[in-house]
């Protein structure tokens, strides 16, 4: 589905990704864990085309999309729920969802919106309210629902659990787990390593711009080094 080879990226003259290799197969949930500043967000920004790639290749569903403009990635089937949610705060909940389906104007937009409301009933209640007035958890739901309105094959999620109460973290990650049943492949970036590995098939560990470990999620959870560094046990 998605493969990344030797990806390098920089901010100004400072390189922050030093050749990242990564692969996500269709139907998988793959997680990337790593400490703050490891380069996880930069990696996802490169994948979505909103961050320049200095070297390396991104192949998505057989096509090299390394140089594809950001606004064309969703059309290719690659959506992102960005760090910090990035909802349209000045627009209503419903307008946010409608814009998620910006590329479409067929009948499916309405039925997709009904599905989004079924998935997150609280959004239906608040459909005509300004999105900026939602709570953190509701904004995260809106960000996810908006991304799904774009009919992605593959969804990139950047720390969806950030800043949420534990009960909401479980609820959000349940939704991520259930994306499998919607045929959406998932690349999940998390600092909450335990929760992410618990729902993932495979995982990658990033440290200062490099992938330092990878493997089946169950093996990573059991690995002594990871338990010490990321799971706090």
């Amino acid at each position: 589905m998605l493969s990344v080879e030797g990806l390098r990226s920089r901010y100004g003259r400072i390189e922050v990704l030093h050749g990242v290799d990564l692969e996500v197969k269709a139907g998988e949930i793959v997680t990337v864990i790593g400490a703050n500043g490891a380069g996880k967000t930069t990696l996802l920004r490169c994948l979505s085309g909103v961050q320049p790639v200095a070297a390396g290749r991104i192949v998505f569903r057989g096509d090299d999309v390394t140089r594809t403009a950001g606004h064309r990635r969703l059309g290719a089937g690659l959506a992102q729920v960005p760090e910090g949610r990035q909802i349209f705060t000045n627009l209503t909940v419903e307008e946010n969802l409608r814009l998620g389906a910006y590329l479409f104007s067929d009948d499916r937009v309405d039925s997709d919106m009904a599905e989004a409301f079924a998935m997150f009933p609280v959004l239906r209640e608040k459909r005509n309210q300004r999105a900026g007035g939602l709570s953190g958890g509701q904004q995260q739901m809106l960000a996810m629902a908006r991304a799904l309105m774009g009919r992605p094959n593959c969804l990139l999620l950047d720390e969806p659990s950030m800043g949420l109460a534990p009960i909401l973290v479980d609820q959000i990650l349940d939704v991520v787990r259930n994306l499998k049943s919607l045929d959406v492949t998932v690349l999940l970036v998390e600092q909450n390593a335990y929760a992410a590995l618990a729902i993932a098939d495979r995982g990658y560990v990033m440290e200062t711009g490099r992938v330092t470990m990878s493997g089946p999620a169950a093996e990573l959870i059991a690995d002594a080094r990871i338990r010490e560094a990321y799971l706090g046990v």
Binding site: F88, Y102, L103, R146
Partner: protein, 290 residues
């Protein structure tokens, strides 16, 4: 009483032009955070191109349409050649670029056209219409009507069309706009084209009354900018109210005091309002905008 009505008519007439200029500022400001100081030159070009196309033999409606389309193209080119090239530059840099563009357009108009004052005939003659003891020119009605149509059309565009929503979305959160598939470069080009067209239309409507020349844009940009600040930069409704208010303050000051004080009076009121309400009458607080 009829005196006040008379001043109100002339205030609304000139206020309609300020409101359109303020609206032009608002659209580009929302899309890019940039205050486009070439906005006044768009108004000047609307008038001047109509004058010269009409003098060259084009019927007035065709000359006016040509002026609006050509100015919109110039606005899009300004974005393409100057603003888009400076991608990633600070907003201050971009504003300085627009000041440069304004000087360039003024110079080009001076060379390409001339330095004379010009007008073309009013759309429906120059016989004043008497209303309750006051009079209003038919061209003033055209100006008010034109401004009303532009504001209504824009309101529908932003609230009803997906493209309009895409412009609002880009203004609100550019990263998120790209992620949902909006071509934000297109939105920028559209905003510049739209602002330029609205400015040119203001020039077409006003020139029979106000006359125009290559340097007519400077004063208009200043008044339109003040109107946008008064209404709250970034709010189209604020642009409308701010424009009309500035026009009314000017006209009543000129009428009851002296036209020497009309500019000063407008700016005193604006400063007083901004002192009490730094975001302008209808502006959002910095918090809300985030």
């Amino acid at each position: 009483m009829s005196e006040l009505l008379q001043f109100t008519f002339s205030g609304l007439t000139v206020g309609a032009v300020y409101a359109l200029v303020a609206l032009g500022f608002t659209i580009i400001y929302n899309a890019s955070g940039v205050v486009n100081f070439a906005q006044g030159e768009f108004v000047m070009l609307g008038g001047m191109i109509t004058v010269f196309a009409h003098a060259a033999g084009a019927p007035l409606p065709a000359a006016a349409a040509l002026a609006v389309v050509a100015t919109a193209a110039i606005g899009i080119l300004l974005n393409k050649l100057a603003i888009e090239r400076a991608r990633g530059a600070s907003v201050v840099t971009l504003i300085i670029i627009t000041i440069g563009a304004s000087i360039f357009l003024r110079g080009a108009a001076q060379l390409g056209f001339d330095k004379q004052l010009h007008r073309f005939p009013s759309f429906s003659g120059d016989d004043p219409i008497a209303i309750a003891g006051a009079t209003i020119l038919p061209q003033s009605l055209w100006m008010l009507f034109g401004a009303a149509v532009v504001f209504a059309a824009l309101y529908l565009f932003f609230t009803r069309s997906l493209t309009g929503k895409a412009v609002l979305a880009t203004a609100n959160n550019k990263l998120a706009a790209q992620l949902v598939g909006i071509d934000t470069d297109f939105v920028m080009a559209l905003s510049f084209g739209l602002s330029a067209a609205i400015g040119a239309l203001a020039g077409v409507l006003a020139t029979p009354i106000t006359l125009t020349s290559y340097d007519a844009g400077t004063a208009l940009a200043l008044k339109g900018f003040a109107a946008a600040m008064l209404g709250g930069m970034g709010n189209p409704f604020g642009a409308l109210v701010g424009g009309l208010l500035v026009g009314l303050i000017e006209a009543t000051t000129a009428g009851y005091l002296s036209s020497d004080y009309k500019d000063a009076a407008a700016f005193v009121v604006i400063l007083a309002v901004l002192f009490a309400m730094p975001q302008g009458l209808f502006g959002k607080s910095a918090q809300e905008r985030v």
